[in-house]
Symmetry: C2
Subunit: 211 residues, 2 copies
DNA sequence: AACAAAAGTTTCCAATAGGAAATTTTTGTT
DNA sequence: AACAAAAATTTCCTATTGGAAACTTTTGTT
Protein backbone atom coordinates (compact mmCIF):
# COMPACT_ATOMS: atom_id res chain seq x y z
CA UNK A 1 0.00 0.00 0.00
CA UNK A 2 1.17 3.45 -0.73
CA UNK A 3 0.82 4.97 2.69
CA UNK A 4 3.41 2.77 4.19
CA UNK A 5 6.48 4.81 4.87
CA UNK A 6 8.91 3.60 2.28
CA UNK A 7 11.73 4.32 4.61
CA UNK A 8 10.86 1.11 6.32
CA UNK A 9 11.69 -0.87 3.27
CA UNK A 10 14.90 0.97 2.82
CA UNK A 11 15.97 0.20 6.33
CA UNK A 12 15.02 -3.41 5.95
CA UNK A 13 16.93 -3.78 2.75
CA UNK A 14 19.90 -2.34 4.41
CA UNK A 15 19.59 -4.78 7.23
CA UNK A 16 19.30 -7.71 4.94
CA UNK A 17 22.37 -7.22 2.93
CA UNK A 18 24.20 -10.44 2.73
CA UNK A 19 21.31 -12.62 3.68
CA UNK A 20 19.94 -14.24 0.61
CA UNK A 21 22.24 -15.15 -2.21
CA UNK A 22 22.43 -12.86 -5.13
CA UNK A 23 20.06 -13.81 -7.84
CA UNK A 24 22.84 -14.22 -10.34
CA UNK A 25 25.35 -16.96 -10.64
CA UNK A 26 28.54 -16.16 -8.84
CA UNK A 27 28.88 -18.29 -5.82
CA UNK A 28 30.03 -15.79 -3.29
CA UNK A 29 33.44 -16.16 -1.77
CA UNK A 30 31.61 -16.93 1.42
CA UNK A 31 34.67 -17.60 3.40
CA UNK A 32 33.25 -19.92 5.89
CA UNK A 33 36.66 -20.73 7.27
CA UNK A 34 37.54 -17.14 7.84
CA UNK A 35 34.32 -16.51 9.65
CA UNK A 36 34.74 -19.53 11.84
CA UNK A 37 38.18 -18.44 12.80
CA UNK A 38 36.94 -14.97 13.63
CA UNK A 39 34.26 -16.37 15.81
CA UNK A 40 36.54 -18.78 17.57
CA UNK A 41 39.13 -16.11 18.26
CA UNK A 42 36.53 -13.67 19.43
CA UNK A 43 35.72 -16.20 22.10
CA UNK A 44 39.35 -16.62 22.93
CA UNK A 45 39.35 -20.29 22.19
CA UNK A 46 42.24 -22.41 20.97
CA UNK A 47 41.67 -25.12 18.43
CA UNK A 48 42.03 -27.61 21.22
CA UNK A 49 39.29 -26.00 23.26
CA UNK A 50 37.05 -25.55 20.27
CA UNK A 51 37.67 -29.18 19.50
CA UNK A 52 36.36 -30.26 22.86
CA UNK A 53 33.37 -28.02 22.56
CA UNK A 54 32.40 -29.17 19.11
CA UNK A 55 33.55 -32.75 19.09
CA UNK A 56 35.50 -32.13 15.92
CA UNK A 57 39.19 -32.95 15.71
CA UNK A 58 41.70 -30.16 16.06
CA UNK A 59 43.00 -31.00 12.66
CA UNK A 60 39.58 -30.86 11.14
CA UNK A 61 38.93 -27.46 12.61
CA UNK A 62 42.22 -26.23 11.32
CA UNK A 63 41.45 -27.46 7.84
CA UNK A 64 38.04 -25.89 7.91
CA UNK A 65 39.44 -22.56 8.99
CA UNK A 66 42.06 -22.71 6.28
CA UNK A 67 39.51 -23.66 3.69
CA UNK A 68 41.30 -26.88 2.94
CA UNK A 69 38.15 -28.92 3.19
CA UNK A 70 34.47 -28.34 2.73
CA UNK A 71 32.94 -29.45 6.01
CA UNK A 72 29.96 -31.74 5.91
CA UNK A 73 26.66 -30.53 7.10
CA UNK A 74 26.96 -32.48 10.28
CA UNK A 75 30.34 -30.89 10.92
CA UNK A 76 28.84 -27.47 10.44
CA UNK A 77 26.06 -28.38 12.81
CA UNK A 78 28.55 -29.38 15.45
CA UNK A 79 30.38 -26.14 14.95
CA UNK A 80 27.25 -24.16 15.33
CA UNK A 81 26.23 -26.07 18.38
CA UNK A 82 29.60 -26.15 20.04
CA UNK A 83 30.53 -22.55 19.56
CA UNK A 84 27.07 -21.23 20.05
CA UNK A 85 27.06 -19.66 16.66
CA UNK A 86 24.01 -18.04 15.30
CA UNK A 87 23.59 -19.47 11.85
CA UNK A 88 22.81 -16.31 9.97
CA UNK A 89 25.89 -14.95 11.61
CA UNK A 90 27.94 -17.60 9.88
CA UNK A 91 26.79 -16.60 6.50
CA UNK A 92 26.56 -12.90 6.88
CA UNK A 93 29.55 -10.74 6.40
CA UNK A 94 32.03 -9.59 9.03
CA UNK A 95 29.08 -8.41 11.00
CA UNK A 96 29.81 -5.40 13.07
CA UNK A 97 29.16 -7.72 15.97
CA UNK A 98 32.26 -6.70 17.82
CA UNK A 99 31.50 -3.16 16.78
CA UNK A 100 32.11 -2.43 20.41
CA UNK A 101 28.38 -2.16 20.78
CA UNK A 102 28.79 1.21 22.31
CA UNK A 103 26.61 3.21 20.04
CA UNK A 104 24.29 5.91 21.26
CA UNK A 105 22.07 8.37 19.49
CA UNK A 106 20.08 11.13 21.16
CA UNK A 107 17.20 12.81 19.41
CA UNK A 108 15.87 15.99 20.97
CA UNK A 109 12.15 16.62 20.98
CA UNK A 110 11.03 17.69 17.53
CA UNK A 111 14.50 17.26 16.06
CA UNK A 112 13.83 13.99 14.31
CA UNK A 113 13.85 13.65 10.53
CA UNK A 114 10.47 14.64 9.08
CA UNK A 115 8.81 12.19 6.75
CA UNK A 116 5.36 13.29 5.67
CA UNK A 117 2.78 11.09 3.92
CA UNK A 118 -0.83 11.87 3.00
CA UNK A 119 -2.17 10.13 6.07
CA UNK A 120 0.57 10.30 8.64
CA UNK A 121 3.32 12.71 9.48
CA UNK A 122 6.30 10.73 10.67
CA UNK A 123 9.26 12.05 12.58
CA UNK A 124 12.07 9.53 12.40
CA UNK A 125 14.13 9.18 15.53
CA UNK A 126 17.71 8.09 16.05
CA UNK A 127 18.50 8.46 12.37
CA UNK A 128 22.18 8.89 12.95
CA UNK A 129 22.51 5.21 13.76
CA UNK A 130 22.28 2.70 10.98
CA UNK A 131 21.79 -1.05 11.19
CA UNK A 132 19.41 -0.78 14.05
CA UNK A 133 17.19 -3.62 15.12
CA UNK A 134 14.33 -1.26 15.73
CA UNK A 135 13.07 1.76 13.90
CA UNK A 136 11.47 4.31 16.22
CA UNK A 137 9.41 7.24 15.11
CA UNK A 138 6.88 9.71 16.42
CA UNK A 139 3.84 10.05 14.25
CA UNK A 140 1.04 12.55 13.98
CA UNK A 141 -2.11 10.98 12.61
CA UNK A 142 -3.69 13.37 10.15
CA UNK A 143 -6.36 10.96 9.06
CA UNK A 144 -9.79 11.45 10.53
CA UNK A 145 -11.64 8.84 8.52
CA UNK A 146 -10.86 5.32 7.55
CA UNK A 147 -11.84 6.12 3.97
CA UNK A 148 -8.68 8.09 3.55
CA UNK A 149 -6.84 4.81 3.32
CA UNK A 150 -6.85 3.13 -0.03
CA UNK A 151 -5.73 -0.15 1.44
CA UNK A 152 -4.37 -1.73 4.58
CA UNK A 153 -0.91 -0.85 5.63
CA UNK A 154 0.96 -4.12 5.71
CA UNK A 155 4.61 -5.03 5.97
CA UNK A 156 7.06 -7.37 7.67
CA UNK A 157 7.83 -7.42 11.33
CA UNK A 158 6.19 -6.42 14.55
CA UNK A 159 5.16 -3.05 15.79
CA UNK A 160 4.71 -1.36 19.13
CA UNK A 161 2.48 1.65 19.44
CA UNK A 162 2.09 4.09 22.33
CA UNK A 163 -0.40 6.91 22.35
CA UNK A 164 1.07 10.23 23.44
CA UNK A 165 -1.86 12.56 22.91
CA UNK A 166 -5.27 12.74 21.32
CA UNK A 167 -7.45 9.71 20.80
CA UNK A 168 -7.67 7.39 17.86
CA UNK A 169 -9.19 4.30 16.38
CA UNK A 170 -6.82 1.44 15.80
CA UNK A 171 -8.06 -0.58 12.85
CA UNK A 172 -6.68 -4.04 12.23
CA UNK A 173 -7.54 -6.59 9.62
CA UNK A 174 -8.57 -9.34 11.97
CA UNK A 175 -10.02 -7.48 14.92
CA UNK A 176 -12.70 -4.97 15.68
CA UNK A 177 -11.43 -1.41 15.62
CA UNK A 178 -10.57 -0.27 19.12
CA UNK A 179 -10.27 3.24 20.45
CA UNK A 180 -7.03 4.21 22.12
CA UNK A 181 -6.31 7.06 24.49
CA UNK A 182 -3.14 8.65 25.81
CA UNK A 183 -1.10 6.11 27.74
CA UNK A 184 -2.63 3.13 25.91
CA UNK A 185 -0.39 0.93 23.85
CA UNK A 186 -0.60 -1.87 21.32
CA UNK A 187 1.69 -4.55 19.98
CA UNK A 188 0.88 -6.38 16.76
CA UNK A 189 2.13 -8.28 13.76
CA UNK A 190 2.56 -5.97 10.82
CA UNK A 191 1.63 -8.50 8.19
CA UNK A 192 -1.85 -7.96 9.48
CA UNK A 193 -3.37 -4.92 7.83
CA UNK A 194 -3.45 -1.95 10.15
CA UNK A 195 -4.35 1.74 10.15
CA UNK A 196 -4.81 4.64 12.54
CA UNK A 197 -7.50 7.30 12.48
CA UNK A 198 -7.65 10.25 14.85
CA UNK A 199 -10.92 10.63 16.73
CA UNK A 200 -9.99 13.68 18.76
CA UNK A 201 -10.34 17.25 17.55
CA UNK A 202 -6.63 17.58 17.14
CA UNK A 203 -4.47 15.01 15.40
CA UNK A 204 -3.40 12.17 17.67
CA UNK A 205 0.30 11.68 18.26
CA UNK A 206 1.89 8.29 18.83
CA UNK A 207 5.23 6.65 19.31
CA UNK A 208 5.82 3.79 16.93
CA UNK A 209 8.61 1.25 17.05
CA UNK A 210 9.05 -1.32 14.32
CA UNK A 211 11.25 -4.40 14.45
CA UNK B 1 22.16 -51.04 2.20
CA UNK B 2 23.79 -52.68 5.12
CA UNK B 3 24.79 -50.00 7.52
CA UNK B 4 23.35 -46.83 8.72
CA UNK B 5 25.65 -43.92 8.05
CA UNK B 6 27.92 -43.12 10.89
CA UNK B 7 26.90 -39.54 11.33
CA UNK B 8 23.31 -40.49 11.75
CA UNK B 9 24.14 -42.63 14.71
CA UNK B 10 26.12 -39.84 16.22
CA UNK B 11 23.25 -37.48 15.87
CA UNK B 12 20.90 -39.90 17.49
CA UNK B 13 23.18 -40.52 20.40
CA UNK B 14 23.49 -36.86 20.91
CA UNK B 15 19.79 -36.46 20.88
CA UNK B 16 19.32 -39.06 23.54
CA UNK B 17 21.79 -37.69 26.01
CA UNK B 18 20.93 -34.22 24.94
CA UNK B 19 18.57 -33.78 27.82
CA UNK B 20 20.85 -34.35 30.72
CA UNK B 21 23.87 -32.84 29.06
CA UNK B 22 23.05 -29.56 27.48
CA UNK B 23 19.85 -28.14 28.80
CA UNK B 24 19.57 -25.57 26.09
CA UNK B 25 20.74 -25.31 22.54
CA UNK B 26 20.01 -28.93 21.89
CA UNK B 27 20.74 -29.92 18.37
CA UNK B 28 17.33 -30.62 17.06
CA UNK B 29 16.49 -33.31 14.58
CA UNK B 30 17.30 -30.82 11.92
CA UNK B 31 16.08 -32.76 8.99
CA UNK B 32 17.93 -31.11 6.25
CA UNK B 33 16.85 -33.69 3.73
CA UNK B 34 13.23 -33.28 4.51
CA UNK B 35 13.48 -29.56 4.17
CA UNK B 36 15.26 -29.80 0.89
CA UNK B 37 12.67 -32.12 -0.47
CA UNK B 38 9.90 -29.84 0.64
CA UNK B 39 11.53 -26.95 -1.06
CA UNK B 40 12.22 -28.80 -4.26
CA UNK B 41 8.69 -30.13 -4.48
CA UNK B 42 7.22 -26.77 -3.69
CA UNK B 43 8.94 -25.57 -6.82
CA UNK B 44 7.65 -28.51 -8.78
CA UNK B 45 11.07 -29.72 -9.70
CA UNK B 46 12.16 -33.26 -10.41
CA UNK B 47 15.49 -34.50 -9.18
CA UNK B 48 16.70 -34.28 -12.75
CA UNK B 49 15.75 -30.63 -13.02
CA UNK B 50 17.10 -29.79 -9.61
CA UNK B 51 20.27 -31.54 -10.66
CA UNK B 52 20.70 -29.25 -13.63
CA UNK B 53 19.98 -26.19 -11.54
CA UNK B 54 22.38 -27.05 -8.79
CA UNK B 55 25.08 -28.94 -10.60
CA UNK B 56 24.73 -31.81 -8.18
CA UNK B 57 24.12 -35.33 -9.42
CA UNK B 58 20.63 -36.74 -9.33
CA UNK B 59 21.87 -39.46 -7.09
CA UNK B 60 23.49 -37.05 -4.72
CA UNK B 61 20.33 -35.07 -4.37
CA UNK B 62 18.39 -38.20 -3.70
CA UNK B 63 20.79 -39.25 -0.99
CA UNK B 64 20.68 -35.86 0.62
CA UNK B 65 16.92 -35.86 0.66
CA UNK B 66 16.87 -39.31 2.18
CA UNK B 67 19.43 -38.36 4.76
CA UNK B 68 21.82 -41.00 3.55
CA UNK B 69 24.70 -38.58 3.41
CA UNK B 70 25.70 -35.40 5.12
CA UNK B 71 26.35 -33.02 2.25
CA UNK B 72 29.50 -30.98 2.30
CA UNK B 73 29.27 -27.30 2.70
CA UNK B 74 29.99 -26.76 -0.94
CA UNK B 75 27.16 -29.07 -1.84
CA UNK B 76 24.85 -27.14 0.42
CA UNK B 77 26.00 -23.94 -1.22
CA UNK B 78 25.15 -25.29 -4.62
CA UNK B 79 21.77 -26.31 -3.36
CA UNK B 80 21.12 -22.96 -1.88
CA UNK B 81 22.25 -21.20 -4.97
CA UNK B 82 20.50 -23.45 -7.42
CA UNK B 83 17.17 -23.59 -5.72
CA UNK B 84 17.23 -20.06 -4.45
CA UNK B 85 17.05 -21.14 -0.86
CA UNK B 86 17.65 -18.78 1.97
CA UNK B 87 20.31 -20.37 4.13
CA UNK B 88 18.99 -19.62 7.58
CA UNK B 89 15.77 -21.12 6.34
CA UNK B 90 17.57 -24.38 5.81
CA UNK B 91 18.87 -24.61 9.30
CA UNK B 92 15.87 -23.39 11.16
CA UNK B 93 13.11 -25.73 12.08
CA UNK B 94 9.90 -26.07 10.12
CA UNK B 95 9.58 -22.52 11.22
CA UNK B 96 6.39 -21.57 12.84
CA UNK B 97 6.23 -19.16 9.98
CA UNK B 98 2.61 -20.08 10.03
CA UNK B 99 2.50 -18.01 13.18
CA UNK B 100 -0.38 -16.51 11.29
CA UNK B 101 1.14 -13.16 12.07
CA UNK B 102 -2.18 -11.80 13.09
CA UNK B 103 -1.51 -11.18 16.73
CA UNK B 104 -2.52 -8.08 18.57
CA UNK B 105 -2.30 -7.06 22.18
CA UNK B 106 -3.71 -3.87 23.64
CA UNK B 107 -2.57 -2.54 26.99
CA UNK B 108 -4.63 0.19 28.56
CA UNK B 109 -2.91 3.01 30.36
CA UNK B 110 -1.71 1.80 33.75
CA UNK B 111 -2.86 -1.74 33.11
CA UNK B 112 0.52 -3.22 32.38
CA UNK B 113 2.20 -5.78 34.58
CA UNK B 114 4.07 -4.10 37.45
CA UNK B 115 7.69 -5.01 37.95
CA UNK B 116 9.35 -3.01 40.69
CA UNK B 117 13.09 -2.80 41.32
CA UNK B 118 15.04 -0.69 43.82
CA UNK B 119 15.86 1.89 41.20
CA UNK B 120 13.11 1.68 38.64
CA UNK B 121 9.46 0.82 38.65
CA UNK B 122 8.65 -0.96 35.43
CA UNK B 123 5.25 -1.53 33.95
CA UNK B 124 5.51 -4.26 31.34
CA UNK B 125 3.33 -3.77 28.30
CA UNK B 126 1.79 -6.25 25.90
CA UNK B 127 2.45 -9.14 28.26
CA UNK B 128 -0.26 -11.29 26.77
CA UNK B 129 1.84 -11.88 23.69
CA UNK B 130 4.82 -14.16 23.91
CA UNK B 131 7.69 -14.58 21.47
CA UNK B 132 7.84 -10.93 20.72
CA UNK B 133 10.78 -9.36 18.99
CA UNK B 134 10.56 -6.33 21.22
CA UNK B 135 9.82 -5.87 24.89
CA UNK B 136 8.07 -2.60 25.62
CA UNK B 137 7.61 -1.13 29.07
CA UNK B 138 6.84 2.12 30.79
CA UNK B 139 9.21 2.97 33.58
CA UNK B 140 9.18 5.38 36.47
CA UNK B 141 12.66 6.37 37.51
CA UNK B 142 12.83 6.46 41.28
CA UNK B 143 16.54 7.06 41.40
CA UNK B 144 17.65 10.59 42.06
CA UNK B 145 21.37 9.98 42.38
CA UNK B 146 23.80 7.93 40.38
CA UNK B 147 25.16 6.49 43.61
CA UNK B 148 22.05 4.44 44.01
CA UNK B 149 23.39 2.16 41.30
CA UNK B 150 25.88 -0.41 42.43
CA UNK B 151 26.98 -1.11 38.93
CA UNK B 152 26.11 -0.43 35.31
CA UNK B 153 23.04 -2.01 33.87
CA UNK B 154 24.24 -4.07 30.97
CA UNK B 155 22.59 -6.71 28.82
CA UNK B 156 22.21 -7.87 25.27
CA UNK B 157 20.41 -6.06 22.53
CA UNK B 158 19.48 -2.53 21.66
CA UNK B 159 17.22 -0.16 23.47
CA UNK B 160 15.02 2.75 22.55
CA UNK B 161 14.06 5.28 25.18
CA UNK B 162 11.46 8.04 25.03
CA UNK B 163 10.89 10.52 27.82
CA UNK B 164 7.24 11.01 28.73
CA UNK B 165 7.50 13.30 31.73
CA UNK B 166 9.99 14.73 34.16
CA UNK B 167 13.64 15.22 33.32
CA UNK B 168 16.52 12.89 33.82
CA UNK B 169 20.19 12.25 33.33
CA UNK B 170 21.06 9.48 30.94
CA UNK B 171 24.35 7.94 32.02
CA UNK B 172 26.25 5.69 29.65
CA UNK B 173 29.55 3.97 30.03
CA UNK B 174 31.25 5.57 27.05
CA UNK B 175 29.66 9.01 26.89
CA UNK B 176 29.16 12.02 29.05
CA UNK B 177 25.88 11.95 30.94
CA UNK B 178 23.25 13.90 29.07
CA UNK B 179 20.07 15.43 30.38
CA UNK B 180 16.83 14.44 28.70
CA UNK B 181 13.47 16.19 28.77
CA UNK B 182 9.96 15.16 27.73
CA UNK B 183 9.87 14.32 24.04
CA UNK B 184 13.57 13.52 23.86
CA UNK B 185 14.60 10.03 22.90
CA UNK B 186 17.69 7.85 22.80
CA UNK B 187 18.75 4.69 21.05
CA UNK B 188 21.74 2.70 22.25
CA UNK B 189 23.50 -0.62 22.52
CA UNK B 190 22.69 -2.30 25.79
CA UNK B 191 26.05 -3.98 26.22
CA UNK B 192 27.24 -0.53 27.05
CA UNK B 193 26.58 0.23 30.69
CA UNK B 194 23.63 2.55 31.15
CA UNK B 195 21.52 4.08 33.90
CA UNK B 196 18.83 6.69 34.40
CA UNK B 197 18.53 9.23 37.20
CA UNK B 198 15.61 11.59 37.65
CA UNK B 199 16.56 15.25 37.91
CA UNK B 200 13.06 16.67 38.23
CA UNK B 201 11.16 16.97 41.52
CA UNK B 202 8.91 14.14 40.58
CA UNK B 203 10.13 10.84 39.22
CA UNK B 204 10.66 10.88 35.48
CA UNK B 205 8.62 8.50 33.37
CA UNK B 206 9.87 6.94 30.16
CA UNK B 207 8.90 4.45 27.51
CA UNK B 208 11.51 1.79 26.95
CA UNK B 209 11.63 -0.74 24.16
CA UNK B 210 14.25 -3.48 24.10
CA UNK B 211 15.07 -5.72 21.15
C1' DA C 1 -3.64 -55.20 -16.83
C1' DA C 2 0.34 -54.21 -19.66
C1' DC C 3 3.39 -51.18 -21.22
C1' DA C 4 6.25 -47.04 -21.75
C1' DA C 5 8.09 -43.04 -19.91
C1' DA C 6 9.37 -40.48 -16.07
C1' DA C 7 10.99 -40.12 -11.54
C1' DG C 8 13.53 -41.83 -7.87
C1' DT C 9 16.88 -45.09 -5.60
C1' DT C 10 20.90 -47.89 -5.20
C1' DT C 11 25.38 -49.58 -6.62
C1' DC C 12 30.03 -49.04 -7.46
C1' DC C 13 34.12 -46.48 -7.49
C1' DA C 14 37.02 -42.35 -7.58
C1' DA C 15 37.56 -38.22 -4.87
C1' DT C 16 37.56 -36.05 -0.56
C1' DA C 17 36.42 -35.29 4.45
C1' DG C 18 37.66 -36.36 9.28
C1' DG C 19 40.61 -38.09 12.99
C1' DA C 20 45.19 -39.43 15.41
C1' DA C 21 49.57 -38.42 15.66
C1' DA C 22 53.75 -36.26 13.87
C1' DT C 23 55.65 -31.90 12.57
C1' DT C 24 56.09 -27.07 12.37
C1' DT C 25 55.17 -22.48 14.00
C1' DT C 26 54.22 -19.20 17.55
C1' DT C 27 54.50 -17.46 22.15
C1' DG C 28 56.51 -16.63 26.43
C1' DT C 29 60.37 -16.97 29.75
C1' DT C 30 65.04 -16.92 31.31
C1' DA D 1 69.37 -16.11 21.76
C1' DA D 2 67.90 -20.50 23.48
C1' DC D 3 64.65 -23.18 25.26
C1' DA D 4 60.04 -24.88 26.72
C1' DA D 5 55.29 -24.84 26.25
C1' DA D 6 51.34 -23.94 23.65
C1' DA D 7 49.05 -23.60 19.45
C1' DA D 8 48.44 -24.53 14.74
C1' DT D 9 49.37 -27.16 10.57
C1' DT D 10 50.40 -31.22 7.92
C1' DT D 11 50.69 -36.06 7.18
C1' DC D 12 48.82 -40.39 6.74
C1' DC D 13 45.11 -43.36 6.76
C1' DT D 14 40.24 -44.81 7.13
C1' DA D 15 35.47 -43.58 6.48
C1' DT D 16 32.30 -40.99 3.89
C1' DT D 17 30.82 -38.16 0.04
C1' DG D 18 29.54 -37.38 -4.80
C1' DG D 19 28.90 -38.81 -9.56
C1' DA D 20 27.73 -42.16 -13.54
C1' DA D 21 25.17 -45.71 -14.57
C1' DA D 22 22.36 -49.60 -13.38
C1' DC D 23 18.29 -50.64 -11.29
C1' DT D 24 13.56 -50.01 -9.20
C1' DT D 25 9.37 -47.65 -8.45
C1' DT D 26 5.72 -44.59 -9.82
C1' DT D 27 2.76 -42.42 -13.14
C1' DG D 28 0.02 -42.16 -17.01
C1' DT D 29 -1.92 -44.11 -21.24
C1' DT D 30 -4.17 -47.49 -23.97
Amino acid sequence: MSEEPHFLKEEKDKLEIGRSANSDATLEPLQLGKRVREIRLSQNLTLEEASKLTGLARSTLSKIENEQISPTFSAVSKLVQGLGIDIPQLFSQPKSKSSAGGRRDITRSGEGTPHPTPTYEHELLATQLTSKKMIPFKTTVHTHSFNEFTDWVRHDGEEFLYVLSGSLLFYTEFYEPIELFPGDSAYYDCEMGHALVSTSEEDAVVIWVTA
